[in-house]
């Protein structure tokens, strides 16, 4: 018997190991599983491994999700940037359209108020030389001729000095070669406004030192130079220098028109029924003050 067991001990062991769990399973197949104390101990003893793995896995997944989110955020950021740029462009276009609309409306109202034929012209170029001149998109085909006055609702811009088929060159009032016959609106004292070549400054000329001129006085065209109609605003008197000697006053005039910001101008093609300089009687933001 002992020899039999010794000879077939592996076989018997395997059979036991097969039959023992099979019997256990068959006996408990219909019942629920209740873990024994030993089984519970085995699970509890190794549960820290599970917890550590879960934490490590959670950390790794969080890291991965953060990375993915970061990539998504970057992509989303790019998309949003593009959208913002597009919206900014549209907003700018809208603002531009509104401003253009305002300007054109002012020009239209202004041109309606003036006698004679007036055409609006868009500025298409600026003189690249030392001269302060602009190129406007109306020329001989539109009836523009040399010497015609150019202005906006704010005031005098300059005069046409050269004409082409579709464009005209306008000498600005701030050009150093420009001179406008003018008058102090308040005291009616006569004077000439000359350009200095600077955008924001002109100078007084041909005004007697005793003339009634004060800082802040509005200067309007007198209509006596045969170019500009009477009553257009040229600018406002700035600093005045009354020297104890000499015949004339010295002072500066601040242009009524923002030369650097010009986009559209009006050109007086004909000056009304009398064909002389148009007498401007319409509203002006400066004269209204």
């Amino acid at each position: 018997m002992l020899a039999f067991l010794k000879r077939y001990r592996e076989l018997l062991l395997v059979l036991t190991l097969l039959l023992l769990p099979l019997g256990t399973w068959l006996a408990n197949a219909q019942r629920g599983r209740d873990l024994s104390a030993f089984e519970k101990f085995c699970l509890a003893a190794t549960s820290p491994v599970r917890d550590a793995t879960a934490r490590l896995m959670g950390f790794a997944l969080d890291l991965w999700h953060d990375y993915v989110d970061l990539r998504r955020v970057r992509e989303e950021n790019e998309i949003l940037r593009e959208a913002v740029a597009e919206l900014q462009l549209r907003l700018n276009q809208r603002i531009e359209a509104e401003k253009e609309n305002e300007r054109l409306r002012a020009l239209v109202e202004f041109s309606r108020s003036a006698s004679g034929r007036i055409v609006a012209a868009e500025i298409v170029g600026v003189s690249p030389s030392h001269r302060r001149a602009i190129l406007v998109a109306k020329g001989e085909r539109d009836g523009v001729r040399k010497g015609m006055p150019v202005f906006t609702a704010e005031g005098v811009v300059g005069k046409v000095v050269a004409t082409y088929a579709n464009t005209s060159e306008v000498q600005l009032v701030v050009d150093s070669g420009s001179a406008v016959a003018a008058r102090v609106q308040r005291s009616r004292a006569r004077l000439t406004v000359r350009g200095t070549g600077e955008d924001g400054r002109m100078r007084l000329a041909h005004i007697h030192r005793t003339a009634d001129v004060l800082e802040g006085d509005v200067i309007v065209t007198s209509g006596t130079d045969g170019v500009f109609p009477k009553g257009l605003v040229v600018g406002r008197v700035g600093r005045i220098e009354r020297k104890p000697y000499g015949m004339e006053l010295e002072g500066e005039v601040i242009p009524a028109v923002d030369i650097a910001g010009l986009e559209e101008v009006l050109i007086a093609i004909s000056s009304g029924e009398d064909e002389g300089p148009t007498a401007w009687t319409g509203p002006s933001p400066w004269t209204a003050e």
């Binding site: 000879r7 077939y8 001990r9 592996e10 076989l11 062991l13 395997v14 190991l17 097969l18 023992l20 769990p21 099979l22 019997g23 256990t24 399973w25 408990n28 197949a29 219909q30 019942r31 599983r33 873990l35 089984e39 085995c42 699970l43 190794t46 549960s47 491994v49 599970r50 917890d51 550590a52 793995t53 879960a54 934490r55 490590l56 896995m57 959670g58 997944l61």
Partner: protein, 216 residues
Amino acid sequence: MDGAVAMDRGVNRLFRSRLPPRPRPHVRRAILGSLPLGPEAGEGRRVWRCLLWAAIALVLFQIEAGIKLHVPQPYLRVDVASMVLFFVALDLGAIEGALSAFAVGFVADLFVLGPPGMCAFLAVAIWTGAHLIPPRAFRSGWFGPGTLAFVFSLAFQVGILGLETMNRPSWEAPGRMAWASVVPVAAITAVCAVPFRSLLRRLDRMTSGEASLRSR
């Protein structure tokens, strides 16, 4: 005469050195003769290691439980029991192997939470079945052992699901998803089992002090 015998032995030795190493008799019996299995000298002293393999399986099950907490997809799973059984069946001797298979099955029972003894029975049955396979099937390369690990996992999972289906009422039986996950899980197990077997073989050598039984 003596010189001729010596020469003959020298030729034989030379000829034998060109052939793959011949398995020892007890190894041959363990594989081809299956049962009864020949005793391996000193194997009794290594029986304690069945607890080591079971402990490794237990830790692996816990690790998998921790991973499954975050990756609950049923298809993404390694059949830990089959992975350890793969090593146990291929690399351990008869007594240690059978006991280890039983211990691994016992551990699997803790996690499967079916009737006690189900996984232990299946593990020992698969271990026994593995000893009927010719050793050439899993001695070299990756394909043979990989296929074997796949078959191990497939058999183990199908066994569990089949027994559960037989045992439980229809509304408690494993669902379609469980059956559908058998093949992908077996494939993942096969991929993991081959390198994992190499690790366990190293551990086997470290703890036994000699080369793995069936690999010699």
